[in-house]
């Protein structure tokens, strides 16, 4: 499927280094966190949420290429981006549960979590909302001569919104320092992208606006990281936008719980066999980068962290009713 579009999928030689184990740990944290969230929803502890299971390499890979001054805008499927950027799992989980200890005091819930202190800003759950805001962030970076670039995560569904096209066009015309990351996960809520687009790769649309683009195997974290590093270097050097498409797959449903009855079983099983985490684990074990014991210890450490986050969220208080009308006006 990767080669179906007219764009060729970039293959980047995988470099194994110490940081790959950190990326694996990040991916394991995202997976364990989101599966726990889904489990807590099923158990009636929290409202529904959207997971990014299967897409962890995109979040971990792209964010590993960013610097401390870079800003991130994300969407409703954001836990991966938040955790990869270093958000406290306790406070993300508490926010999902609508608790006062969450990053937004429980006013966001799972759908639009922003954490300004780590540079994850202006999260919007309106599909494409983040694309309309990122040009403004890019403009501030340019006008105020701030360090850093703006990175925006969106999906193939958002790319079918008109605002995607308005955003890319303006970023191109004004030379805004923006890394557009399209996580093409094949699903637009409950509809497969093949029903809504005549092309396979969103990067083709980006190229039409005069923007440099690249499509990368979104399930290969090292490939994503290398492509993102190149893209970030290009943006820092030229000040111009870049569209990086991470071609991946949403392994769980749109919104928990979801029986995925509408999903082609054969396609799902094919992408499960390309699971970014198990693929990487196998490779690191085979290459001797990690021992089975080290991997087990890593998983246990992640599991404990997530269990602690769940306990923190459940034990945390809800916001008091006086919060109903605070933070509406400055």
């Amino acid at each position: 499927m990767l080669g179906e579009g007219r764009n060729t999928v970039t293959t980047v030689e995988t470099v194994i280094d110490r940081s790959v184990t950190q990326k694996l740990e990040t991916m394991l944290l995202i997976r364990t966190f989101e599966e726990k969230s889904a489990e807590l929803k099923a158990a009636g502890h929290s409202p529904s949420m959207c997971t990014s299971v299967g897409q962890e390499a995109s979040a971990a890979g792209v964010i590993s290429a960013l610097g401390e001054h870079d800003l991130i805008l994300t969407n409703h499927r954001s836990a991966g981006h938040l955790l990869a950027r270093g958000a406290d799992p306790n406070r993300v989980m508490a926010e999902i549960h609508g608790k006062a200890t969450g990053y937004c005091g429980g006013k966001s819930g799972s759908l639009h979590i922003s954490v300004k202190e780590i540079g994850v800003i202006l999260t919007s759950t309106i599909v494409g909302g983040e694309l309309s805001l990122v040009t403004g962030v890019g403009l501030s970076l340019q006008m105020l001569e701030m360090q850093g670039i703006a990175t925006v995560f969106f999906g193939d569904g958002a790319a079918t919104e008109g605002i995607f096209h308005e955003s890319l066009n303006l970023a191109a015309v004004w030379d805004l320092p923006i890394l557009y990351v399209c996580e093409n996960n094949q699903w637009q809520a409950y509809v497969h992208r093949k029903e809504t687009m005549r092309i396979d790769h969103v990067s083709e649309w980006g190229a039409r606006y005069g923007i440099e683009t690249r499509t990368v195997d979104g399930n290969d974290v090292e490939a994503v990281a290398a492509a993102a590093r190149d893209a970030v270097a290009y943006i820092r050097t030229t000040g111009k936008p870049f569209l990086l498409e991470t071609f991946t797959y949403r392994l769980r449903g749109h919104m928990e719980p979801d029986d995925q009855a509408y999903v082609d079983k054969e396609e799902l099983s094919r992408w499960r066999s390309k699971d970014p985490i198990t693929t990487l684990e196998r490779k690191l074990l085979t290459d001797g980068v990690l021992t089975a014991t080290e991997l087990a210890a890593m998983k246990e450490s992640v599991r404990k962290k997530v269990e602690a986050a769940a306990e923190f969220a459940i034990a945390s208080p809800y916001p008091t009713v006086d919060q109903l009308t605070t933070d509406v006006y400055a």
Partner: protein, 323 residues
């Protein structure tokens, strides 16, 4: 106080230019902004005065994103019906993300939209939609009626930490008025008493303020002393200003060009009913545009707007047709 006689259109831009001089974070962009305001380009450069594509959604979204990260944008979205293309960005982002994020972001931005009868442009360029934004949380709404207020409210809007919708009444834009020189700042949320009276309060905003003043002249011949209140700001609404006038006169007639159903007048009438019912000498009356798109044809466009004779007639009915 030194005043100049200038159009509201120019007064609004003078206010913007003064704020751009005062604060380097203020910038302006929109469809044809740099083309129209070449003098601003000469003074502030192309980076702070920009043309944009004809795409209201991304103009408004860019303003919101920029406002949240350190700039103070003033965007021109041209005609109020075009705001439908920017509703997501204005309502869901600029209006809500401060609250949703638990107060992490502010959106100090101004969006200008022209509206109302005057240019015979028909229903897709002329539609008074201000009440849509009054209903949206997190957003302030102003609609000045005098040249001085066009300048003074623009300056306040730019200095405000919240998103402000600035509705510019097309029918007023090119009629010159007195505007104070220098730092003339009109506070948002404060109604203006345009004429003192003792028998009835005419409460209005935008171009119908002058219609009310004309009606008040006509009513004087009938022995009715009408007070005219100009709301100026629709959100926050100057509840105290409205109530103090109505408590004094005991009668309220609310006048606006926008359609009546769920319009600003409905809110004003509700406030009066809730807080001044016991002091009312007559039922509250609204005089508004109809539930119809404005027509381009001049007589129909003018008939859409509450005119002085219609206002005066309705006021007389409040007094039982006699005084």
């Amino acid at each position: 106080m030194i005043t100049n006689t200038i159009t509201p259109d120019q007064a609004m831009i003078d206010g913007l230019a003064e704020e751009m001089r005062r604060d380097p974070r203020v910038l302006t962009f929109g469809e044809g902004t740099a083309t129209k305001h070449y003098k601003l380009v000469e003074e502030f450069g192309h980076k702070r005065v920009r043309n944009t594509p004809l795409a209201e959604g991304i103009i408004a979204g860019t303003a919101a994103g920029a406002a949240a990260t350190g700039l103070r944008p003033v965007v021109d979205l041209l005609f109020a019906p075009f705001l439908t293309f920017a509703m997501e960005e204005l309502i869901n982002s600029a209006g809500k993300l401060r609250f949703i994020s638990g107060g992490q972001f502010s959106f100090p931005m101004v969006a200008i939209a022209r509206t109302g009868a005057g240019w015979a442009v028909g229903g897709q360029h002329n539609h008074n939609v201000e009440s849509w934004f009054v209903h949206a949380p997190g957003i302030k709404v102003v609609m000045p009626s005098t040249a001085a207020d066009f300048k003074g409210l623009m300056k306040s809007a730019i200095r405000d930490e919240n998103p402000v919708m600035f509705f510019a009444d097309i029918g007023l834009l090119h009629t010159p008025g007195e505007v104070p020189e220098g730092d003339h700042v009109v506070p948002i949320g404060k109604a203006a008493l345009r004429r003192e009276g003792s028998d009835v309060s005419l409460i209005s905003y935008g171009k119908t303020v002058q219609k009310c003043l004309d009606a008040a002249d006509m009513l004087r011949a009938d022995g009715i002393s009408a007070e005219v209140i100009d709301l100026s700001s629709l959100k926050p609404l100057d509840e105290a200003g409205v109530l103090s006038s109505v408590l004094k006169t005991g009668r309220a007639v609310i006048v606006h060009e926008a359609s009546g159903m769920c319009g600003v007048g409905a809110e004003v009438a509700a406030i009066i009913a809730e807080k001044a019912f016991g002091q009312l000498k007559a039922p509250v009356v609204r005089i508004t545009g109809p539930d119809a798109p404005p027509a381009a044809s001049y007589p129909l466009e003018q008939a859409f707007v509450p005119q002085p004779d219609r206002i005066a007639k309705s006021v007389k009915l409040v007094f039982g047709g006699h005084t």
